[in-house]
Amino acid sequence: MINLVVAGLVSGSIYALMAVGLIVVYRASRVMNFAHGTFVGFAAFLALSLHTSSHLPLWAAGGIAIVATVALALLTEGVFVYPLRHASRLELLAVTAGVSLVLSGGMLQLFGTQDRLFPRFAPGTAFRLANSAIPLQNVTTILATLAVLGIIAALFYLTRIGVAMRAASENAQLSMLVGISPKAVSLTSWGVAGAMAAAAAILVAPDVPLTADTFSNLMIQSFAALVLGGFTSLLGAVVGGYLLGVGLNLFSFFVKSDIPSTFILCVVLGVLMIRPEGLFGRKESLRL
């Protein structure tokens, strides 16, 4: 039971990190970034290649992957998203889907089709609890995720740029009047999302066989976490991710083991019917 919960928290860490990356961009640009999963995959493949082919230590490979993924996110924003900022949300969504396709194709050419596995950075057992051995890797992943999420929270609530990003997401017109540059806010949001994508990749990649579209598939769970927690709340995205991870494991163990997608869809449908704004979201009002 303890192992199930811990493994669920690891899965939840993935969903939370990816969901926060999505929500940061969504709040700043009103874009649901379909390329986010591909950013995660790009970071994972780059770090793995630098580690295995160029023999860089994992920390150095991870550092380069973070910088490169931030650059990729900024490039996407600068070339594709910002110039289309007045387009409809559907068009912007299609643009990010296009970016995702191009990136996936590029990764396929660069890294091939064979399954790979990222090295576990913390093998061994952390401690025993009630006759359960808790893997050190899992404990490290959960703690590191919480640290990353803490840094993001500090950025949003304790820094000027964070306050500017929140202000712009609340009311773009008013924030411009007080001198907040929408371009700077959008760029910063995409950069932060890129860093989140790379952090998710490095922390999570040891638990999944890597292929060009591994992380695109995890977008479904991340969307579900967002729906559960609420599209307007960072805290909601985190709580939604962890609830989904643990809930999925407990459901698979106690109820039925081969219908996780059905479970996720039921959660999404249930939340949308009972509380459409999610657990921590706010109802958006339309002033006429």
Partner: protein
């Protein structure tokens, strides 16, 4: 405003163009004009993209045959399409191969779900599916010619080995994908377990489940000491990592295509020592497999290191080439029906890569001899534990 509109237009065109280019590249024709068109669709992308290497090996073999002058005066144009391991895409890609490209045969096609999706269509068109990688009885038809042993014989072989070696003291478990791929072994394993009075625990999972901790915890709680994993290769590492999550160390058994070196090298050593793999073709490097190694080096230098899946893809090609040779003997023109008739003459056909292929007009399911291998972490390759042996006979 004008500048913004221009930029928007440029950006949109760029995205669409790049997307279109990518689609063409992903679904791209991978061949040059030759005399006879053959082809297949496969998972270049998607959840089973690790199997693409078998297609590359098939293609390397076809190109090698062309380099050596072809067969009976014919050379081959080999067309590969990406079906993303999605049965509906497989059907669309196969229609394109048959209706637009007019291929003589599908060669080296892989996957039970995709084959089931195209089964009726290719039967109606009389297109032979040669060297198919699926052991499911459900794919059997007058035009499907697998080279994989039947899933029933694979499951029986694996279960019998685990029982004979005394690994099933606490019971035997099957962790299986809840579709035609994973379920295909169940009846055979149940039969062997029943014959040997061994407790059996069956635990399903959904294709692409990243975290199988709940499923593996169920096996652990049931006291199972030996587990057969039945599913596509990428389900194997996630099963092992789930066992790490719950501190579970059973004896594992899977088909050797799961033993991908880049994956195996990262799995915990205390789990690897308890793993066994079954297989049915030669290993790359075995006597008589030099053609495979040199052709892969020539055409796919980046695809390394060699794995048994290479031999599987190459074996598909050798079966097609032999059928083509028989069909066009004496200057006869190559037709789909001639290929089918030639395949039905295969009686215990063997070469350096595969042995004992017999197709009859009634059934194309194979009961091939299989071996057991274990992973050697030092050389990062699969090593034989047993010679090729026949699988056990199943009761009625």
């Amino acid at each position: 405003m004008t500048t913004r509109m221009r930029l928007s237009w440029f950006t949109r065109v760029t995205v669409v163009a790049l997307g279109a280019l990518l689609s063409v590249a992903a679904l791209g024709r991978d061949g040059a004009a030759e005399d006879v068109k053959i082809g297949a669709s496969g998972p270049r992308t998607g959840p089973n993209s690790g199997a693409w290497v078998a297609y590359q090996a098939t293609r390397a073999c076809i190109l090698d045959a062309n380099d050596k002058g072809g067969v009976n005066g014919y050379k081959f144009n080999h067309i590969l399409l990406d079906d993303q391991y999605d049965p509906q895409v497989t059907l669309g890609a196969t229609r394109r191969l048959v209706d637009q490209e007019n291929v003589l045969a599908l060669v080296g096609h892989s996957g039970t779900a995709g084959t089931l999706a195209i089964k009726d269509y290719i039967l109606s068109k009389g297109v032979p599916d040669v060297g198919l990688h699926s052991g499911s009885a459900a794919v059997n038809s007058a035009v499907t010619y697998p080279i994989s042993p039947s899933s029933a014989s694979q499951g029986a072989f694996q279960a019998k080995y685990l029982i004979d070696k005394g690994f099933t003291g606490g019971g035997l478990g099957v962790l299986y994908e809840n579709d035609d791929v994973g379920k295909a072994v169940l009846s055979a394993v149940e039969s062997i377990a029943k014959q040997n009075n061994v407790k059996l625990t069956l635990v399903p999972f959904q294709l692409g489940s990243r975290d199988k901790t709940a499923q593996v915890a169920t096996l652990k709680e049931a006291g199972v000491t030996a587990v057969i994993i039945s599913g596509i290769p990428s389900e194997f590492p996630t099963s092992i990592l789930a066992a790490v999550n719950v501190d579970y160390h059973p004896t594992w058994f899977a088909v050797a295509y799961a033993a991908e070196p880049r994956v195996m090298s990262q799995l915990p050593a205390d789990q690897i020592k308890n793993m066994y793999f079954s297989w049915y073709t030669a290993f790359p490097g075995d006597p008589g497999t030099q053609d495979l190694l040199s052709a892969m080096k020539k055409h796919y230098p980046d695809v390394t290191p060699p794995t048994p899946t290479w031999s599987e893809g190459w074996a598909s090609c050798t079966v097609f080439l032999e059928a083509f040779k028989r069909a066009t003997q004496g200057g006869k023109p190559p037709t789909r029906q001639a290929i089918i008739s030639a395949l039905n003459t295969f009686k215990d056909y063997s070469n350096s890569y595969i042995s004992g292929i017999t197709y009859t007009a009634d059934s194309h399911l194979l009961t091939l001899r299989q071996l057991v291998g274990q992973w050697d972490p030092t050389s990062n390759t699969l090593k034989r534990v047993t010679p090729f042996t026949a699988p056990p006979t199943l009761g009625p």
